[in-house]
Each structure stands twice: as structure tokens, then as C-alpha cells.
Amino acid sequence: MSTTDFTINNTWMLISTILVFLMHLGFAALEAGLTRAKNTVNILFKNTSIVAIGLLTYALCGFSLMYPGDFILGDWLGFAGFGLNPGENWNTPSYNVGYTYYTDFIFQAMFAATAATIVSGAVAERVKLSSFLLFSTLYVAIVYPIAGSWKWGGGWLDQLGFYDFAGSTLVHGVGGWAALVGAYVLGPRIGKYTRKGAHPIKGHNMPLTAIGVFLLWFGWYGFNGGSVLSANPGAVSTVFVTTTLSAAGGIIGSMILSWYLSNKPDLSMILNGSLAGLVGITAGADVIDPAASILVGLISGLLVVSSVLYLDSRKIDDPVGAISVHLICGLWGTLAVGIFSTDHSISIQLLGMISYGVFCLASSMLIFYLIDKLLGLRVDEQEEIVGLDISEHEMEAYAGFQIFNVE
């Protein structure tokens, strides 16, 4: 292994790292755009602080929980100690042919906060800031890395042959399950569901939403491309193609279904659709061939639209469609590996999906329960009506602009 190849691989991994970093801006913009102007400051605050919290807790314990080396409890739980411990040769191919220890850490660290950010969208416009920050901290510091260790850390699911290339389940699923629990325990935003059925609460800034989606897509090339863990030309280029085509498929799929259903071309749906396609291909971007990846995307697009409508029918209020995009398409993507890749078994994939579901549901319920007892989860009615920007932050996102806060 030439140090030169090592240098290229490492460079690509670092570039992927910052592409993933940019996804946090994508999430912030998307989430802010699809909610009301009166909660924008709150959303930006959450998403900015989550990044910091995620990175620091991952340095503190997340990384060594997720990649413990040896496991303590069976192959379920391990811990390599607090803080960062680059050993000898941390910066040579003998650590890993693809990256140095620090590259390894920083790439993984950027992923970590994502899980919490996904939750942020589903609980937006009504969750208490402090409670949410506390939840994120615990979820990112403990739940996410332990779950990750089962597969990427070489734990029991890995040994069973469960496959999740870049995190349809390990990242998007893990975040998505908590998003589901969060949206459920918090209940819908005031006015979302009336006797007459679901009443739309419109996002206030579509260009911002579009910026968010395109930046997420852009960052996804690091998310999936970096998960090759090297700059291998064949592998990375294949991943780029499947990722791209699946995103495109997601747009078409969501466009067709939403246009057909509401016979209007719905922007917010095709924007969700592209993300759906991206989440869908994430588990199998390297093992699903390009033609199939289009199909994976199309189906993701159909799923996300159906799911958004279904959740509304069940009165589960997810302002940005986080559950539909990350959980539903995450599950679909994980399953798709079993379907489209001959080397992986559907049953093992299902086993993995279920195990993660159980673990994430249980732990997020527990954490939300404890926080509810401790601080309460939801702002009071008056604060929600006035908007979190004024009630929690005492500032406005668009000072001077004339905005109708209520219809």
C-alpha cells in the first residue's frame, strides 16, 4: 500500500467529511423553510447548537462507543474510553489504508449530529428548546453510537451479515424512529387537525427550502461517496451514479403521485422526493446497480408522498416530512438491499430493521419520558401561538417584514 494512495484516500475522506458537514446547513434551511416565520430563529438555533453538541459528545464518548474495537457485552456494547486516543501510527496506512485516525473520527463525527437533526424537524414549532437540546445530547451521545456499533462497529448484526452501506438504517432510521416518537408524544401543532380534518400549516419560505434540499443532495455525495472509505475509482463512481439516479427517480416518483392525487404539481413533495430517493439508496448505493437504483428512487418517491398523507390521516404531525423521508425510505432502502443485491438476504435485512426499530423506539420513548417528567416537552399554548422566536428567544427572524402570523 503506497503512502500516495493513502494520501488520496484520506484527502477524499476529508472532502467527504465537509460535504457531510454542509448537510447540517441543508437541514437547517429545509426545516426553517417548511415551517412558519415565527419559529425560524428557534429552528436555526436548534440546528446550530446540535452540530456543536453532536461533535463534542462524539469526541467525548460517541466515537469510542461506536467503534469500540472489542465489545464488552456480547457483541452488543463496547467502549474504548473517553476522548480521542490516536495510537501509534494513527497517521499511517497501518491504521487504515483509507484514512488517518483523526480523519476517521471527524468523518464519523459529522454523521452523528445528523440523527438528532432529523428529530428536530419532526418536533418543530412546539418542542421546548431546553428539552430538545437535552434529548439530542443523550440520543447522539449514547443511543446513536451504540446502535451504530452493532453494524459499523463490527457488532452482532455485522456478524450476521446485515448490510447498511451508508446508513439508511444506522443514521436515517435511527433518527427517523426518534422523530416518530417525538412527533407522537408531543402531539400535533395547534390548529393542524380540525374537525374538518387536516388543516395545512404552510412553510414560510420555499426558496430557503429548496436551498436546503439541494445542499443536502450535494452533501450526500460525501455521505455516500465517503462511505466507500477510500477513493477507489470504480466504487466511488458507482456510488455517485446510483445516488444521483435514485434522487432523480425520487423526484419523478413523488411528482407523478402528488400531481395525480392533488392534480397540482406540488413543490414541497418533489423536494421531499429527492431526499426520499437519497435516503432510499443509502443502504445499497454500492451494491445496487444503476438501473435498479432508478427503481429504488421511484419507489421512494411514491412512498414519501403516501407516507406524508398517511401520517396526516393518523394525526401525526410532522411539519417537514422527516418521518416519511428518513424512517420510511430508510426502511425501504434497507430492504431494497435484500431485494436488489444478490449477496444479501432479505431476512437478515428485516431482522436488522426490526432490531433497530425496537431499540430506537424503546430508548427514545424512555428519554422523552424522563425529560417530560423533568422539564416538560412542549411549550405552553400561548407561547406556541405567539411563536417560539418571541417566546423562547425574544427575537424575530425577519425584523421589519410585515407578516401575518395567523390566517
Binding site: V386, I390, E394, M395, I403, F404, N405, V406
Partner: protein
Amino acid sequence: MKLIIAIIQPEELPEIKEELLKNKIYKFTVSNALGQGKEVPITEVYRGIAHEISLLKKVRLEIAVNDEYVDNAIDSIIKVAQGAKDKGRGKIFILPIEECIRLRTNERGKEAIG
């Protein structure tokens, strides 16, 4: 014919709207406004500086009605607005209208209002 101008709290608009429709007042015009009143000013903080905002966001309702409907209108608004006890619920002003015209039909007077 009277023009009822009501300054209300933004968050009360949806409810007041419903009340008005219940009371057979089907037509009105809404606009945004800022109000200075006795109301406790809210504080905002920006880059470490706290400051009081005394010009608060309000909604301005204009309802033109025939005299016999005036009370309906007032009652609908009061019913909702009196809920809360704190200062700054707002005001209603009643002005005389000399003529009213429905543009579409060119009807005038009492017929035109509703």
C-alpha cells in the same frame, strides 16, 4: 350604515372570524397594524441588548354593517376578546358611513353592504 373598526390581537383573528360568520356577518376586511397602547410592552433581546417593544403587532378589522347588525358585530368580537384579562385587548371604533356601493352590481346603500 356604520363602519366598525376593530383593533384586535392577531391570535384572536381565527376565532373572531368564526364568531362573525356565526352571527351572519359574512363580509369584512382585515389588515396588519402595529399598536401602541397601555399594554405591557414585550422585551426583545438582540445581540445582548434588551429593549422594550411598545409598538405591538395587531390586526385591524373593518366591518361595514347596516345599523341593525352593529351589535352582532360588536358582540362577536367582545365575546372572543374578553377571554383574556391582561391589558391590551384592543378597541372598537364605530364611524358613520354615508354611502356604500357594491362595485360588481353598482347597488347602493343598505343592499350593497352585505
